[in-house]
Structure formats: structure tokens, C-alpha cells
Symmetry: C2
Subunit: 327 residues, 2 copies
């Protein structure tokens, strides 16, 4: 059995081999470049952990882990176009570096390559894996659509927001864990518990990402604090603040949302003003409680997996890693 | 057994049912709209024909035919973005109607939906079908890349051009026929012959499309004559003309290629000038001979399929339909 970090290293050793043919270079070089930007490779490691929870890592699992990471990168490459993002991990995005057409087509071929990795899965699991992979891929597209839809509407309920982040980010973590469990021959009960663990952990992780964007230590968080606030992003915090703010606070919040800062000083002013309301309305605590609630749900599902406790340790490490309390 | 046209009708009856969920509408409505634009549905019909060549149509084959048509529409939706095409079959394209982000994401989910149709293929064929589907999808992306690459280079060899159209258009026809044959339980020999029939037929069809763009009857062809000429597209005809043109003709051709017409009269002048060179250099006949050569190759492969001759009639109808001699 391996620790979470060991599994990441083992996966990277394999994944850092060339994943694509060389020609046509215009198609495959940008795809290779994008993989080379790196990433935490959490999902493929989670897939391997789902397998090791129940036994030695199967060759099928390595293939699925690769498919998952290729799929994830396909979504990132296309999301970057949609978000007009110029940088990813400090590197130029493909649509800026090679043009939008290339980013569309290289992304497409990356998705096909992901399915290519599922060709040789053992016959006994292939249909099951393909179904879960397709369902997850469809849900991730739906999540991205809801995310874009919610930018254009005035009000989003907390329930809809959590459904959106579930689709956009947590089903892929959940499916990664479950696919590993499936090819390890786990029972349906265990596969489902592992999935629910991943789903709730993913939601907790995303909520925490929203929280840290407001209250995180910028050095540890690695992003500028207040990015979501400046983009008026309807995160859990903003949604709850609108709900909890009384008359004058409500008006102050509306004014801050309408305010479009032009200078850096004005930006700081807006962030400070919104954070102040988040603190006064208790949104800070409400969000922490919500994160805790989903994290607890995740751990409860893990508890219900029928396997000796020592096998669960890497999944506990994963949860700790994803939910490091930097506040 | 059914005729080619009957199979198209039978396929449409099934395919015209809703192919997508309703929500989120922003994702699925544009995908449904795009399918509603219609199309000749040649590839799924070819898939059914590949099956009927060897026996009654299997449920697997209907699923694969649907996957093929969804895949084809995914490529069209993304190609329309890349080509900045405003219309398809006289209807507004998705990126113009709903924006580029929607066209990217709806196209993505259409590809996922294509794979969804392959989930329940019989275990004995699933891996084989998945492999051929992936290989074909990858090749179609490669063909699109080469097509874009060739726009930017000065010279393309006829060999490279034919390789490009093979990847971009004919492998999908070939794979459609072969996948039908596979799930009908055909032998490897027969599956391979059917594939080669489709591949060569597809090349002949594309070369004829290039030919008709220059020498077709505009009413029967359904497109404006000379479109490729006005875009300086490096088709088989232009490549051969550059090769065969003597000194003064060569210079005249270069001048015409450099000439960027602004008025309609200038456009007519350019088309007329280039067609004149195509006639004088014998490119018209050379291209017809080339089409004939690939058509003949296709029929030779069909001859070698080991099955009673009457079963081959629909495939002969397909070849006749695709290579109607409108010149």
C-alpha cells in the first residue's frame, strides 16, 4: 500500500512519458505542452487509492487513471478558451499560445485519447467503467454550463450553487475513486460509499476554495485574495451574505456589487468592504460550518466502507490534504 | 434486406427522437438544434449496410450508427467555429446563434453522448468497436489539422492532399461500414475488405466534390461553382495544375492566385481564368481519371467480400449515389 504522495509520484513517472504521437505537430504538440504545465494529479492518484483500498493496483487502474487525467486536462483546455484565461499555473494557455482553433482541436483529440485509454480494460469491467466515465464527462459539461449560466442571472440559490460545484468538480473526484474500486473488484456497496466519500469531499474542497479566496493566507493559497469578489462571482459566501444581510448591510452589499473599481486602491476598497459584510453577517462562520458538514459527511461514508481500517489511511490523508485548514 | 434509401429512412425515424436531456437547456438545446438542421445521414446508413451485408440488423448496430452520426455532428459543430462558417445547410451555425463558448461545450457533450451510445454494445464486440471508433475519431482530428496546416503552406503534394482527405472524410465512412460488419459477426477478411471499399469510395467522393466545385452543374451540385478557386484552396485540381502548367500558363496561374477579387465581376474573371488553365493543362481529365481509379479500387475491394452477390447491391447503390456523374 502507498501513501497519497507516493501514488502521485508513481503516477507522474508513467504519465510524464509521451502521451501523443508526434505528427501532426500542430495538433499534438500543444496537447503535450499543456500536460507539461503540470498539475497536482490528484484525481489519478485518487483512482489508484480507490483500487488500493481493496487490493494491489491492477493494470486497468493505471489506464483509467491516465484517462481521467487526460479528460481533466481536456476540460481545462476548453474552459480556458471559454474563460478567456491567459495563464494557467503561470504558463501561457494554449488558445493564447497557439490560437483558439488549435485549443479546440487539441482539446478534442485529448478527450479521444482519454477514451483510447479505456479500450483494453478487462471485459468484466469495461462496460461499467465506460458508463461511469461517460456519465461523469456529461455531468462535468453540465456543471460548466450551469457555471456560465449563473454568471448571467441575478440570483442563485445555495442549493443550485452546490449542485453546480458538485457537477463541475466533485463528480470527477468521486468517479476517480470509484473506478479504482470497481477494477479492484469491490462490492457495489463499497463502490457506492467510496463515490459518496469523493462527492462530499469534493464539495467541501470547492467550498473551502471559495472561503480561502476571501479569508485565506495569500502566500499559502497561491492566489490573490478577493478574486471572486472582484468578479462578483456568486459563491457560497455571496449567496449567504445576500440572504443574511439586514436592510442597511443589504444596501451596502448591493452598492459594492454595482461598484466597478478602476484603480488598485478601489479594488482593495471593494474587497475590504465585502469582506467586512461577510464577517458581520456571520457568513464566514456559516461557510466554515458548511465545509465541516460536507467533510463530515464524506468521512461518514468512508467509515461505512467494509474494509480493514488501515487500508483507509491514504483516503484520510487525501481528505486532510484537500482540506488543509489555512484559516 | 433494405435499399440504401430505406436504411436512411429507418435510421432517421429513430434518430429524430430526442437525443439529449432537457436541462441545462443552454447546453443541450443548441445540440438538438444542430441535429435538427439535418444532413444526409449517409454514415449511419452505411453502418447499417455493413451489418446487412452479412445478416439481419443487430440492436448493437443501431447504437453504433447513432454514435457515428453524433460524432459526425460534433466534428461539424467544432469545424464551423474553426472555419468561421455562418451557415450550415442554410441554417445559422451554433457559434453564431449561441456564441462560441456554447458551440465548444455543446460539441463536447455531443462527443460524450456518442460514446454513451457505445456503452451497451455486446461484450464480445465492445473493445473492438471502441478501438476502431477511437482510432477513427483521432484520425478525423488529424485530418482537420492537416487541412488547416495546408492552408498556411505554399505547396502541398498530391500524395499529402489525398492522405489529408482520407483522414478528414473517408476513414469515417470506412469505419461506419466496418463497424456494422463487425457486429454482424463478419470475418476479419470481410471486415477489412469492407473498410477498404469505404476508404477508397470516400476518397473518390471527396475528389469528385473538388471536381464538381469547378465543373459541376451549379443546380445539381447545390453550391456556387468556383468556391474553392476563390479561396485558393489547394485541391487536387490546383495541385495538378501547378505541376502540369508550362512556363506562361504557370505564370498566369500564379498571377490569378495572387489576384484578390473585390467585385463580383472580378470574382467571375478569376474563376474563369483558373478553369481555363485547368482545361488547357488537362487537369479536368486527370482528376476524372483519378476519381475513376479510386472508385474502381473501391469496387475491387467490394468484389473480394465473401458473400452472395445480391447482398452487395445496397453498397453498389451507395457507390452510385455518392459518385453520381454530374459532368
Amino acid at each position: 500500500m502507498h501513501s497519497f504522495k507516493e501514488l502521485i509520484d508513481l503516477f507522474c513517472e508513467r504519465f510524464n512519458q509521451p502521451q501523443f504521437p508526434t505528427a501532426p505537430a500542430g495538433l499534438y504538440e500543444p496537447a503535450s505542452y499543456f500536460l507539461g504545465i503540470g498539475g497536482k494529479r490528484i484525481r489519478p492518484a485518487a483512482c489508484l487509492m480507490g483500487n488500493e483500498l481493496f487490493g494491489d493496483i491492477k493494470e486497468d487502474c493505471w489506464q483509467i487513471a491516465t484517462a481521467i487525467e487526460l479528460f481533466h486536462n481536456f476540460t481545462l483546455m476548453h474552459d480556458d478558451i471559454m474563460d478567456k484565461a491567459a495563464l494557467r499555473r503561470g504558463q501561457t494557455t494554449v488558445h493564447v499560445r497557439n490560437g483558439e482553433n488549435t485549443a479546440i482541436l487539441s482539446g478534442d483529440v485529448m478527450l479521444v485519447q482519454a477514451y483510447h485509454c479505456l479500450e483494453d480494460i478487462s471485459v468484466e469491467y469495461q462496460s461499467w467503467i465506460l458508463k461511469l466515465f461517460n456519465q461523469t464527462a456529461r455531468e462535468v459539461c453540465e456543471g460548466q454550463q450551469y457555471d456560465m449560466d449563473y454568471e448571467a442571472v441575478k440570483e442563485v440559490s445555495l442549493e443550485d450553487y452546490i449542485q453546480m460545484i458538485k457537477l463541475k468538480t466533485s463528480v470527477l473526484l468521486a468517479a476517480s475513486l470509484k473506478m479504482g474500486a470497481i477494477v479492484a473488484g469491490a462490492t457495489v456497496h463499497n463502490c457506492d460509499r467510496v463515490y459518496s466519500f469523493g462527492k462530499n469531499l469534493g464539495i467541501a474542497f470547492q467550498l473551502q476554495d471559495d472561503y480561502l479566496d476571501c479569508f485565506g493566507d495569500p502566500e499559502k493559497f497561491g492566489k490573490q485574495v478577493g478574486g471572486d469578489i472582484l468578479r462578483n462571482k456568486k459563491t457560497c459566501l455571496l449567496i449567504k451574505a445576500k440572504e443574511l444581510a439586514g436592510g442597511p448591510q443589504k444596501q451596502a452589499l448591493e452598492d459594492l456589487l454595482a461598484f466597478q473599481p478602476e484603480t488598485e486602491a478601489q479594488q482593495e476598497e471593494k474587497v475590504k468592504g465585502v469582506l467586512d459584510i461577510y464577517r458581520k453577517t456571520g457568513v464566514q462562520e456559516v461557510t466554515r460550518a458548511l465545509i465541516e458538514q460536507y467533510a463530515q459527511k464524506a468521512m461518514n461514508h468512508l467509515d461505512q466502507v467494509v474494509v480493514v481500517s488501515t487500508r483507509k489511511q491514504p483516503l484520510q490523508q487525501l481528505a486532510e490534504y484537500l482540506l488543509q485548514r489555512d484559516y
